[in-house]
């Protein structure tokens, strides 16, 4: 089996603690993308003809920790441009709610944060212009939107 990485192991023997780096084996049937140029970062050289977006969760998860944070540039080995692109896509995926198992339960979900959103480009998070649209008072009321909140007063 090929060695993937190392893991820190601690072993306590009486009043002596032994700390060592153990090999972590990985199965041989795991596929890796071919790297054409060893000097460039993985995303700049690998054969991905399509732009990585916030929807490509299986790709973004390889650069994330279990709690939803992003790995730093030194660990991922990406160039600055690709690292920022990945960070923006992960931020967009978090906003779209595509990582339900990687968020904190006490995360603030007030007002507009509960509603769904979609993104066209990864640089859309920087476009923060206020848009003024004309609203129309004319409306055909088919139902009472607050009907479910009505609780009849209990008679004693």
């Amino acid at each position: 089996m090929a060695v993937k990485a190392k893991r820190v192991e601690e072993r306590v023997d009486g009043n002596v603690t032994y700390v060592s780096l153990e090999d972590v084996p990985e199965p041989s049937n795991v596929k890796y993308f071919k790297k054409q140029n060893e000097k460039m970062c993985t995303l700049c050289t690998c054969d991905v003809p399509v732009e990585i977006t916030y929807r490509d969760i299986l790709i973004l998860e390889q650069f994330m920790r279990e709690d939803g944070t992003v790995l730093p540039k030194k660990l991922t080995g990406l160039c600055k441009k690709q690292q920022m692109h990945i960070e923006r896509c992960i931020m967009q995926a978090h906003w779209s709610g595509l990582f339900p198992d990687k968020t904190r339960p006490d995360f603030d979900r007030a007002g507009y944060k509960r509603f769904n959103r979609h993104w066209k480009d990864d640089l859309d998070i920087y476009k923060l212009k206020l848009k003024e649209e004309p609203g129309i008072w004319y409306y055909i009321k088919r139902y009472n939107p607050k009907a479910k909140e009505y609780v009849p007063r209990k008679k004693e």
């Binding site: 595509l98 959103r117 609203g135």
Partner: protein, 209 residues
Amino acid sequence: MASPISRFNRVNQWLLFARQWSVIDAAHQDAKELGVKVARHLSGKHKPIWHPETDCGDHVVVINCKDVAMHGFDWKHTLYHFDKLYPKARDDIYAWQIHEHDPCRILWITTYRALGNNLIRRSHIERLHLFPDEDMPEFVKKNIGNQLKQIIPVARKSTEYTEEERAKFPRIVKFPEDHILDWHAPIVDPGAWKKPRYRKPKKLTTGKK
């Protein structure tokens, strides 16, 4: 050359002159683009026999209106300006505030605007049926005969992927041999240092007046 009329495609000829009820799922769809698509079907512009004076529009039922999406942070950045040109008839309301009060109102506004600025849109918008979720009256369910395609494909969440799909997916990053996996463990937030509030030093006084 047009295809010959067979027993299969003669139905399309009948449907062209009939008023059909179509359903579309609004979940994760852009409110503006969906309004344009629905307005197109309400006015009848999807039919080759369209004319502004021919009342050839269809009924459209939109479900899951509460799950409609907006691009980026538009829920926070879109301000609807209401004005009736009468006193006390002006208001500026954010899109998320309207959506919180009535989940169907935003889609109604976008469809009404997409129908154009004419008198006939008032009769076309009567044929729009919006529902916040999938509950609808029986007569609407019985009338539905067609389903429209969604514009934006719904993104898959990380919980919707199976273990086999994850194992089959190739790895992009190949870590070097001396890479330590403990660096991938989540880091506990040490917290932020809060500057202590300045308090005036108390003047020392004797107990006597």
